[in-house]
C-alpha cells in the first residue's frame, strides 16, 4: 500500500506540467534603489541622505528609513517615513545598519537597500590618522574627510599623556571588542562588541573606544600578564577580529570572536624573532620568523602554524635567507599576497619573492623568486610598499620616490621631493572621499626640519604608475612615520 502511494506521488510529480505564472521582481515592483554608501555621523548632528531611486512614483510608494543596532538586543528604530532622509540624528553612539525601504502598499511588497551606519559621540571618526613622534613620545594628528585638522589627539584633544617611544602603528577593530567598566558603586558593567583603535608605539600602547575616543585601556591593562620587555613592533586586525601584536619578536593574540575582556594573551609558543610586519588575510595573520627563516600563519582555530611549501618543507628552507623587507601586496582578502626582499646568504645573492598566502590550508604556494642585482635600490632602504594590483614595489631613499618593476627588474624615478624632505612611509590606500568619489592613492609621508607632509598621489593605469603632481594635503609638526585611513 505504501509503495502504491509512493508510486502515485512520483507519478503526480512527473506529470506536473506546471501551471504557475512567474512574474519578474522588476515587473512586480519596478522601482530601483541605488546602493547606499556607509555613513558616519556625529550624534545629535544632521543626518542627510538623498537616495537615487529609478522608476519612482511618490504617489504610489511609501518610504521608510530605519536602523537596527548591531549590538544586542539589536533594537530597531524608525527614523523617517519621508522620501529623503534629513534629520537630527538622536541615536546613541554605536554601530547600526541603516535601511531604506520603498513599499508598494497596494501589492504589499517592497524593496530595500542597507548600509553600515556609525554614530559617534565625537567628530573624530572617518578620516586620516597620522602617527608622529615629538621629544621621544608619540601622538596622533587627525584629519577629517573634509580636511579639518585636529592635531595632537592625546595631549591637546583628550588631555592625556602621549605614548612613550616612537610610532609603530595603529589598527581599527570594528565591533569585536569587549570592555569591563567599573561603576562608582563598585559594580562592573561589561560592554560587548565595541569598536576600538589600538595605537602602538615602541614602548607603549593604548586602546580607545572608536565611538567617543574614550580610553578603554592603557598599557598596564592590555595583557592578562605583562611581557617582561616592551618592544612593540606591529599591530593588525584580521577579518575574523583576531587582534595580533608583535612584541620583541614574539606574537600575542586577542581573539575578538571569543568574547573575553579585551586583553592580549601570553606570547605564542616558541622562541621566535618575527620580522616586524604582519600580513592580515581574511582568516589568518602571516608573519616571518627570522630565526627559522620560515613563514608562520596564525589563526583562531589552529593557533600558530609553520607554513610549508608544496613539497612539505618550510618555504624558505635555506637558513641563510635574511629578510630585508616584507610588505603586503593584497591584504584583508581570502587570497592575500606579499612581496619580500631577501638576501640569500650562502650564494650572496638578492631576491624579490612574490608570496601567495592561502587562508584555509595555511600553505603558501611556492614563492616565486626574482634575483635582483646587489646595486638595486631596494637594498639600500627600509621604506617600501607594494600596490594591490601591479607587480611593482615603491621605494624611497631620502627625498626620492622610485618604482621597482619586478617583471623587468628595472627602476624608475617617480618624484623628487624638496631637498631636506625625507620619505618615511609609503602605502597604497583606497577608499571613498567625502564627495563620494573613490580613490586609490599612493600615500607618502615626508619629514623635514619643519615637520611632516602627507601626499596623496593617485595610481593611474595598471602598471603602478602614479600622478605625482599634487602637493601635500596634510602637514603638521613632529616626525610622522605612519598613517591610517578609517572609512567608517
Amino acid at each position: 500500500m505504501v509503495s502504491t502511494a509512493l508510486l502515485l506521488s512520483f507519478t503526480a510529480c512527473s506529470n506536473d506540467k506546471g501551471n504557475y505564472d512567474y512574474i519578474s521582481e522588476n515587473k512586480l515592483i519596478p522601482v530601483e534603489i541605488s546602493v547606499m554608501d556607509s555613513v558616519s555621523v556625529k550624534a545629535n548632528s544632521l543626518l542627510s541622505i538623498t537616495p537615487t531611486v529609478k522608476n519612482d512614483d511618490k504617489s504610489r510608494y511609501k518610504y521608510t528609513w530605519y536602523t537596527i543596532a548591531k549590538n544586542w538586543p539589536h533594537k530597531c528604530d524608525t527614523l523617517s517615513t519621508k522620501h529623503d532622509l534629513s534629520l537630527n540624528c538622536n541615536l546613541n553612539a554605536g554601530e547600526y545598519t541603516l535601511y531604506y525601504q520603498v513599499k508598494d502598499s497596494l501589492k504589499n511588497i517592497y524593496k530595500y537597500v542597507s548600509a553600515p551606519l556609525t554614530v559617534t559621540a565625537t567628530d573624530i571618526n572617518s578620516g586620516w590618522y597620522v602617527m608622529k613622534e615629538r621629544n621621544g613620545t608619540t601622538d596622533v594628528d587627525y584629519y577629517s574627510m573634509s580636511g579639518t585638522a585636529r592635531p595632537n589627539l592625546f595631549t591637546d584633544v583628550m588631555g592625556i599623556s602621549p605614548l612613550v617611544g616612537s610610532p609603530v602603528g595603529m589598527a581599527y577593530a570594528p565591533s569585536c571588542y569587549n570592555q569591563e567598566v567599573n561603576n562608582p558603586d563598585g559594580s562592573v558593567t561589561k560592554l560587548y562588541q565595541q569598536s576600538v583603535f589600538h595605537i602602538v608605539s615602541t614602548k607603549d600602547m593604548i586602546t580607545l573606544n572608536a565611538s567617543d575616543m574614550g580610553v578603554f585601556k592603557r598599557l598596564s591593562e592590555e595583557f592578562y600578564e605583562q611581557p617582561s620587555t616592551f618592544n612593540f613592533q606591529a599591530i593588525a586586525v584580521d577579518g575574523l577580529s583576531t587582534q595580533t601584536l608583535l612584541n620583541n619578536g614574539q606574537m600575542h593574540n586577542l581573539l575578538g570572536f571569543m568574547g573575553g575582556i579585551g586583553k592580549f594573551s601570553f606570547q605564542k609558543e616558541g622562541n621566535f624573532n618575527f620580522y616586524p610586519q604582519i600580513i592580515s588575510a581574511d582568516y589568518d595573520d602571516y608573519v616571518y620568523d627570522q630565526k627559522s627563516s620560515s613563514m608562520y600563519a596564525s589563526d583562531m582555530f589552529s593557533g600558530l602554524v609553520q607554513c610549508t611549501n608544496s613539497k612539505g618543507s618550510t618555504i624558505f628552507s635555506d637558513s641563510s635567507f635574511v629578510m630585508l623587507n616584507f610588505m603586503p601586496r593584497v591584504d584583508y582578502s581570502y587570497m592575500a599576497s606579499a612581496y619580500a626582499v631577501f638576501k640569500g646568504g650562502l650564494k650572496n645573492k638578492y631576491y624579490v619573492a612574490a608570496i601567495s598566502l592561502f587562508d584555509v590550508y595555511l600553505n603558501p604556494t611556492d614563492p616565486v623568486f626574482t634575483e635582483i642585482p646587489s646595486t638595486c635600490g631596494l637594498l639600500s632602504t627600509d621604506v617600501m610598499a607594494a600596490p594591490r594590483n601591479a607587480s611593482v614595489i615603491y621605494f624611497a631613499k631620502d627625498n626620492m620616490l622610485k618604482l621597482f618593476k619586478v617583471a623587468t627588474i628595472s627602476e624608475e624615478m617617480l618624484k623628487t621631493f624638496d631637498v631636506g624632505e625625507k620619505v618615511t612611509f609609503i602605502k597604497n590606500i583606497s577608499g571613498t572621499n567625502a564627495d563620494k568619489t573613490t580613490f586609490n592613492d599612493l600615500v607618502v609621508i615626508t619629514n623635514s626640519s619643519t615637520g611632516y607632509k602627507v601626499y596623496r598621489f593617485p595610481l593611474v593605469g595598471s602598471a603602478g604608475e602614479i600622478n605625482a603632481t599634487s602637493s601635500a594635503v596634510m602637514t603638521g609638526t613632529g616626525a610622522a612615520s605612519f598613517i591610517m585611513f578609517r572609512q567608517n
Partner: protein, 235 residues
C-alpha cells in the same frame, strides 16, 4: 456527658505533649555531623606544611548550655584496607590536642572541628579514608542516625578534577599528576572547582603553559617532561 469526657481527654493529651517536648532536649542532648563528606589532597596545598586541617561540623541538639560540654568521636573503619592510621596519617582523636578541640563551648550549639591530617609518606602512593562516628558520652547522646558518621578521604597524590573537560581551552584533554604539578607551579591555580567564563583567559593560560613547557623541554633536550608512565606532558 461523653462529649465532655473526650474534650477533657484531648486537653490532657495536648498538655502532656507540650510539656514532654520541652523536657526531651534538655534532658537528652545529642550531637550529629552537619557537613558533607570531605576529599582532600596535599597535592593542591598552597603551603608545603607537613599537615593540614580539614573541618567537620558538629551540631548539638537542644538548648545551648551555660557550660562547656565535651563530646566524643571514634573511627569506625579501623579494620578497612584503606583506613587512615591514627597518629600516623591523622592526629589521634585521643590526643590531648584533639580532646581540647572536641568541646561545644558554653552558649553554642555548633562548632567547626579541625581534623588534622598528617602528610605521611604513605599518602604519596594511596588515598586513605577516615570514617568518624559520634560517640555517646556523659554530655551527648547520638543525634540524627543518618548523620552520625562523616568520611574524610585524603592523599598526597594528584586527583583529576571532576570538571576537567571544562578546562579544555586551558589544559587540553590529557591528564596526569606531573601535568597537574606543572599547571599549579606555572599558573598558581590550586582550586579547579570553578572554570572561568572568559575563554580568552583560558587561551591565555594555554598559551602560557605551552610556552613554559617549550622552555622546559628546550632546557632538557634529552629529558622532556613526562608522566610516570612515559607519556609526554602536552597542552
Amino acid at each position: 456527658m461523653k462529649k465532655y469526657i473526650y474534650f477533657l481527654l484531648a486537653l490532657v493529651v495536648m498538655s502532656s505533649c507540650s510539656q514532654q517536648d520541652s523536657i526531651s532536649y534538655e534532658d537528652n542532648p545529642a550531637i550529629y555531623f552537619a557537613n558533607d563528606d570531605i576529599n582532600y589532597s596535599f597535592f593542591y596545598a598552597e603551603s608545603v606544611s607537613s599537615q593540614a586541617d580539614v573541618y567537620v561540623t558538629v551540631h548539638a541538639m537542644g538548648k545551648a548550655s551555660n557550660v562547656d560540654r565535651t563530646f566524643s568521636l571514634e573511627q569506625t573503619d579501623v579494620d578497612a584496607k584503606d583506613a587512615a592510621q591514627s597518629g600516623v596519617q591523622y592526629l589521634s582523636l585521643s590526643s590531648d590536642e584533639m580532646k581540647k578541640r572536641m568541646v561545644i563551648p558554653a552558649g553554642k550549639n555548633e562548632i567547626k572541628l579541625a581534623i588534622t591530617l598528617l602528610k605521611d609518606a604513605s599518602l604519596d602512593l594511596k588515598a586513605v579514608k577516615l570514617t568518624l562516628k559520634v560517640k555517646e558520652n556523659d554530655n551527648f547522646k547520638v543525634g540524627v542516625i543518618e548523620s552520625d558518621t562523616t568520611n574524610i578521604v585524603f592523599t598526597s597524590q594528584a586527583t583529576k578534577p571532576a570538571n576537567w573537560k571544562d578546562w579544555y581551552y586551558a589544559f587540553g584533554t590529557s591528564w596526569g599528576s606531573v601535568k597537574m604539578r606543572f599547571i599549579i607551579d606555572n599558573t598558581g591555580i590550586t582550586n579547579f572547582n570553578t572554570v572561568p567564563s572568559d575563554i580568552n583567559y583560558l587561551i591565555y593560560l594555554n598559551d602560557k603553559l605551552k610556552q613554559k613547557i617549550y622552555e622546559y623541554n628546550t632546557a632538557h633536550p634529552t629529558a622532556p617532561l613526562v608522566e610516570a608512565d612515559g607519556t609526554l606532558v602536552e597542552f
